[in-house]
């Protein structure tokens, strides 16, 4: 069953066309890795899906509901702010730079949105937060502040914070790229655990080992288009596409 469906989406920054007609369908429980060279539009794609950027053309449906539709002239028309709010609640996002709220403790970072956006009581929110902190292995950091945590720990808090809103789909934009190499493992392990629980996820990553192991499907993007998609084996082991080959060759060499 499809939880997210993007059709023919295009996005321009001024005159630079960054997404050039992307089609993407995400099924419930799927883990999709998005790979591709820097500047190919991977972040922009995720940001458009969660409406941190608006698209110029094409349509996006979340859980069968239109967030943005394509008018007859091809231009995108967004749903009402109110409807978009409802749809965006189904999505969570984790950023490369964590973006935790530095003036709030770990616990407060996690419980604030459930309380003020979802209307949970403080007790309910704390119970969820504690459960999630347990899950990401940071129960003892409940009262710490982000500046007291390592990058890997901060990112795990950011994941818990997103999960606390109980999203149907999680978007990860290079969740380990800002981390020292020895800290990537702990974050990838958390994402892998989520995959085992069948959380639907779109993960932009340069961690090819992780993509191979965890993803059901791999999408290779270059220059604003999806060049190729398939199972990890199809992309990593049997690709015939010269650009995919070139990209993977380069990654493996570095």
């Amino acid at each position: 069953m499809s939880i997210l469906k993007a059709h023919n989406i295009s996005k321009k920054f001024k005159n630079l066309e960054v997404l050039k007609g992307i089609d993407l369908e995400v099924n419930k429980g799927e883990v999709i890795a998005i790979i591709g060279p820097s500047g190919s539009g991977k972040s922009t794609l995720l940001r458009c899906l969660i409406r941190l950027e608006t698209i110029d053309r094409g349509s996006i449906e979340i859980d069968g509901q239109p967030m943005v539709t394509e008018a007859s002239d091809g231009h995108s028309v967004y749903a009402s702010e109110q409807n978009i709010r409802v749809l965006r609640k189904k999505m969570g996002m984790v950023f490369q730079n964590f973006n935790l709220f530095p003036h709030k403790s770990v616990l407060e970072n996690i419980i604030e949105a459930p309380i003020i956006v979802n209307g949970l009581s403080r007790e309910e929110a704390e119970a969820i937060a504690d459960q999630l902190l347990q899950k990401v292995g940071l129960a003892e950091k409940r009262h710490s502040y982000p500046c007291e945590l390592s990058g890997g720990q901060q990112q795990r808090v950011a994941i818990a914070r997103a999960l606390a809103m109980n999203p149907d789909i999680m978007l990860f934009d290079e969740p380990t790229s800002a981390l020292d190499p020895e800290l990537t493992g702990e974050v990838l392990r958390v994402i892998k655990n989520l995959a085992e629980e069948h959380m639907t996820m779109l993960v932009v990553t340069h961690e090819m080992g992780f993509a191979k192991e965890v993803a059901n499907r791999v999408i290779f993007m270059d220059n604003g288009v999806i060049i190729e998609e398939g199972t990890p084996e199809q992309i990593f082991d049997r690709t015939q596409h010269p650009r995919t080959k070139a990209f993977l060759g380069q990654i493996l060499r570095s």
Binding site: I50, L52, R85, R88, K89, M91, G92, M93, F95, N97, N99, L100, F101, P102, H103, E112, A113, I116, V117, N118, Y145, P146, C147, A158, R161, A162, M165
Partner: protein, 216 residues
Amino acid sequence: MELDYILNSSIAILKGFKVTYGLFFSTLIFSLPLGLLVALARISRYRILQVVTGTYIWLLRGTPLLLQVFFVYFGLPALGLTLNNMTAAILAFALNYAAYFAEIFRSGIQSINKGQYESADVLGLTYAQTMRRKIIPQMVKRVLPPVSNEVITLVKDTALVFGIGLLDVLRTAQIIVTRDFDITAFIIAAVFYLLNTAILTFIFRKLEQRYSYYTT
């Protein structure tokens, strides 16, 4: 004799406290929130608010504070609004300091990383919730040093109100000096300003310490 004179002069000058402190605290009470409102309007997406607040800041920072005090006290009656001199001083000072605070707050708000807005946004917080809970609290920490500067300047700027006949600390001291041909009263006034500055410096240092529980 000498000590007696200092004591008596000090008591006389104490009367000026009422004006100086009255103006100082009233200015802060009105100008800090007004400055925040102006800053928020300045960065809002409404062009009209940007232009109005931009002009306001330009006018108030671009002319002498004393001129603004004169304008409110002597000029507004021509427009049908007559204020007593203390009210006029408070109004002019509050509007003037709000312009400076607005610029400090604006730059503080704009120094906050874009990622803070984005993570609040994807968590479903509205713009107002984001500003109130995320951006403004972080801004406060960042603007403490420049705000402290302004507040210390304000202590001394209050002396400008001699221009509309208010008897503040400095004016009271000046009257005594002229009467007695003795500058002791000026020294007492200087000590008064220095003490206040020391207290404010201390308070702001404490505030900065209080916000040092986190770094960004």
